[in-house]
Symmetry: C4
């Protein structure tokens, strides 16, 4: 008898639900963060374009819990990949319930996504987030960052603020790491951040709307922009549920548990 052989660990992994073949796919990331800007914008596009889910990501770096859907159906925290066939190029959207709760996990998960994206032929990534302005903003700007100087020209016509007058010095979490690691993979990366009040988990439709307007122009797709508030209403239950979780994570962070700058998380 004695010892059994050690069981393989659960690692961050991506479960493919459907094999897809995509043309020049652009990957857009919208995960929970400041003002839920990225997540709400991503969710809206998925709804409007009736995008299909084709893969899920699981990780031991998420909180160790399950969420209850419709009050009784339990599921692991996960991220989800959706796709949409475009006229000249296809679209992948990554959204999900959560981000990593450990620094190492952030790198591991972003790296796993980049590996997967590379296999799918992705050459361009756009990450979405909010930028906490600290005060009410009437007409939220969309602030941008790229992972290569040459991209400034490519994106200059879309009304993105790449200027020096904004105070962003760092981008924390997936929105930052995905374009940072993307550069090492030779993938072009753009991060779009909508100005928002910055209460970490107060969903901000205005900021999401600003970001969406820029995004659809870049992607050159047609989307009815009138239904955002309605869609946010429909996403409410799921958002509230995970917001409660993230509030704890963010509050832990702000106690200095994780050395992250809350202000720019996205």
């Amino acid at each position: 008898m004695g010892y059994d052989s050690t069981v393989k660990k659960m690692e961050t992994h991506i479960k493919l639900l459907t094999k897809v073949k995509l043309r020049k796919p652009v990957l857009v990331e919208g995960l929970p963060g400041i003002g839920n800007v990225g997540r709400v914008a991503a969710g809206y596009l998925i709804n409007e374009l009736k995008m299909k889910k084709f893969a899920e990501l699981y990780s031991p770096h998420f909180l160790p819990l399950v969420l209850l859907q419709n009050d009784s159906i339990a599921g692991l925290l996960k991220c989800e990949f959706y796709y949409h066939k475009g006229k000249t190029k296809d679209l992948i959207i990554l959204t999900g319930d959560t981000q990593s709760v450990t620094p190492e996990g952030h790198y591991e998960i972003s790296h796993a996504i980049l590996n997967f994206a590379t296999k799918l032929g992705v050459k361009e990534i756009i990450t979405l987030g909010g930028f906490a302005e600290g005060q009410q903003v009437e007409n939220p700007r969309v602030i941008g960052a790229v992972n290569d100087k040459k991209l400034l020209k490519k994106y200059q016509k879309f009304g993105i603020d790449f200027g020096k007058e904004h105070p962003i010095g760092t981008i924390v979490g997936a929105s930052g790491l995905m374009i940072g690691i993307g550069k090492l993979h030779g993938i072009d990366g753009l991060c779009l951040m909508g100005e928002t009040l910055g209460m970490p988990l107060l969903t901000d439709p205005k900021a999401a709307d600003s970001v969406l307007h820029v995004l659809v122009k870049i992607l050159n797709i047609k989307v009815d922009m009138q239904k955002l508030e309605k869609t946010i209403g429909e996403m409410e239950q799921r958002i509230e549920q995970t917001d409660k979780i993230h509030k704890k994570v963010l509050s832990d962070m702000s106690k200095g548990q994780k050395s992250e700058d809350i202000r720019y998380i996205g």
Copy 2:
């Protein structure tokens, strides 16, 4: 001379004590948690059915200490697997001293258990826990969650509350992760949570009793339910000992050390 080759790490592993061959085994998990509901219910069944231990689980994600039994016999913290031969299908019960002290450890341990269960032919898992109501409950409900919608029908006749009026949004720890990861393994999962006051480590016999009544009906086994209080009395020393440990773990968690929702841990 020079360096020795690096020694293999101690990983989460399961030590098989006896080879067993089981027919359609159902795995029931009852580890320490809110009100000790799961652990006490599991311990009672093990006693009443005179179940035999056949495997032990050790993990570096447990607290780094040994417990002293009968005051002088030291042993590592561990989880234990017991089995019982039933008429038509067999029963496995997983109980133990502790749960993981790290988020990643929770995933690793639940994953290891699921791998082991799969090898034993398990197709159905029932996890037991407490649900902290925050106030004294006269007749504790048994609240349920499943890992697949189709299971709601299967379990509807057992008096489990799958309704929307209860406030559970997440299930933290092994009770949640085992059914969440179980879904990825194609294993049916049910979590039964007994309503309890919710003082984290105050053993609640009433809640355990409620859960047990539902459980024996599902398992279709006959168990004398009169001796629960007596059995809890016998388990007292071991429970007290590990409670002291868990109190520290839970208190650390509530300080935001681990980003877990204490309320639903089980």
Copy 3:
């Protein structure tokens, strides 16, 4: 160009300085802990028996710093293995600067030591520690714990308190884990704990003296016990230096950073 292959990680490893061949070696562990009982007792035996160092253990789970010796010679934190050729059986003593700062590290390091001990033919381990009584003790008892019931008889004649009247429920750290993991390796394990006031890092010569008296009887060796205080004086600089470090570690623990019971650490 592109990426270099990833460099191998630094793992817990043991560096062999001299190949030794030992007869029925007994391994005695005395690492820093409550009252420095184990460390001081180990250091005294090493001095008195003029034992020779033959191996060193390094680990990424120690604090990330170097100690300065004689004020200018820097060295990594490490544990050290010494040996002594006895008449009928040989002796190995493990002592060192520190213990792990992470829970997983405690398991990893104890596991590494056990693997090494097994290769050296060790079948018996004695770990040394302090037990914090919380008050001044005139004649400190030596409290014992074993990893197998059958050992109680073997050690009963040495004046060790295996009784039920002492309040020890857990043994935290290497002293506990080494006998706990030892059991899984089929190695007999005894832990000797000297009663002490329990100021974590106030060296307690009296408790060390009590433990030493029991230990030399068990090992059946002759050691002049008169020079303990003098030896402690000589060890002072190194002890003070690492005490300063451990004070921070222990203080972090007591803030709930590590979920360990300070009281019994050894």
Copy 4:
């Protein structure tokens, strides 16, 4: 379908930008720390000697964020290797944005650097840091530590204080670990620490100047020492940006999050 194979983790790795062949290279480390002494001194030499970058180090043990350069160009946190061809021996300088945020990461990163250095033929390492005196210092001493006694003689003529009257007992972080691990690799190691007030992240040009004066004598290179303040001015933006990050890391540490002695970090 089912599971994809798990994606390879992102590990600490070094990306080679240019293949270089170096003669008897000396590796000088200057990473962020107390008074930014090492980083500023390293940056000055890189500027004055017009050194060329040939490799970059990335690690999941850095903070999970990207820095924005010129306000819009995002890049991962990284360390950088520069080289300079000397008359009789070549020089490598390692500098960067940050150090590890976890204890294990400190070991892993220092180990990765040592492995890389060994492949490049490095036999001598000099690490630079600040030593927090706790008060204003008029003429900052340069305090030294070596990883082998024999080196005291080699470095005795350079005005380094190896005496016993200074209160340094430990060196935390890369400056310490690199010479500590270097010893295991058979590499000579010297750590130079400039006395500074010790406000963790207040750049101290005077201390950097003292360290630089000693360093150029050891390296036997000619460098115009007049432009230090000017160069610091030019490095300001980058330093400020990462200082903000490190302030959080250090503040977390000082809350006991990481058990490190802030006073000697370098």
